[in-house]
């Protein structure tokens, strides 16, 4: 391996981690503010958190493969991907904390 560009699977799953971290927070906010939806999640797999986990893990895998197929290594350098992941996780974790502080 002598390539200076990232491989497509790394870009795909890196972007998926960033996107699904944000979607995970949005799903938390939506289910907490929509009791019937949360009840539906609970009845689907026995516990809302189990369904929540299944949804985000499947999404992470599916988006990982989709983004891997679409990725253009020349437009997603390691520096840009690193910053994207970092900010996505900060925003996701911060928004989650803010939501539970205010909820």
């Amino acid at each position: 391996m002598t390539s200076t560009t990232l491989d497509k699977t790394t870009i795909g799953f890196g972007l998926s981690a960033a996107v699904v971290s944000i979607l995970n927070t949005l799903l938390v906010i939506f289910k907490e503010l929509t009791p019937p939806f949360k009840a539906g999640m609970a009845s689907a797999m026995g516990h809302h958190w189990t369904t929540h986990g299944a949804m985000v893990i499947v999404l992470f895998i599916v988006l990982g493969f989709i983004f891997s197929g679409m990725a253009k290594p020349e437009s997603w350098g390691a520096e840009k991907l690193g910053k994207t992941i970092l900010w996505a996780v900060i925003i996701a974790g911060g928004a989650l904390a803010a939501f539970y502080l205010l909820h």
């Binding site: 995970n24 986990g53 690193g82």
Partner: protein, 155 residues
């Protein structure tokens, strides 16, 4: 399951979580001292970290879904009800970001040339996030445990 089994299973969850953090810290040190000879160790550490965090998720998740509810009610009735309403809620959902980042570690380490400075920095960022979020999970778990003790004391 026996009371011992229930308590042992939650400790195994904590054990794999802490092991994952320690492995990620070791990985961080190797990335900071990266050379050609360290790369096989960096790759194996990235894989062990991911496996450890995944095991912590599966065991902790099973315990949470099956056995946490009675403890939750005790915490919520106590003076530290925020140990559940903030820390457990935050922990159980942010854990997914930790899970994805830990799975990303071996993908970065095995599929890219780590001697390229930008690739090394990417692995460094993701590893540092795993350590920081892992420590936050660990601290939250400790607060939740104390919340349960406070809940029992108030009975």
């Amino acid at each position: 399951m026996s009371l011992f089994g229930i308590q042992a299973s939650v400790m195994v969850h904590v054990l794999f979580g802490v092991l994952g953090i320690l492995l990620a810290v070791a990985l961080l040190v190797y990335i900071l001292n990266l050379n050609e000879k360290n790369i096989p160790r960096i790759r194996s550490l990235s894989l062990y970290t991911a496996v450890s965090i995944c095991l912590s998720y599966v065991i902790g998740g099973w315990w949470y879904v099956v056995y946490y509810y009675p403890e939750r009610d005790i915490i919520r009735a106590g003076a530290w009800k925020w140990a559940h309403t903030f820390f457990m809620e935050w922990k159980e959902h942010l854990f997914f970001a930790l899970l994805f980042l830990s799975i990303l570690l071996p993908i970065i380490a095995y599929r890219n040339d780590l001697m390229v400075p930008e690739n090394r920095r990417l692995l460094l960022i993701v590893t540092a996030l795993v350590v920081i979020i892992g420590l936050a999970m660990d601290g939250s778990g400790a607060i939740i445990s104390r919340g349960l003790v406070v809940g029992y004391q108030g009975r």
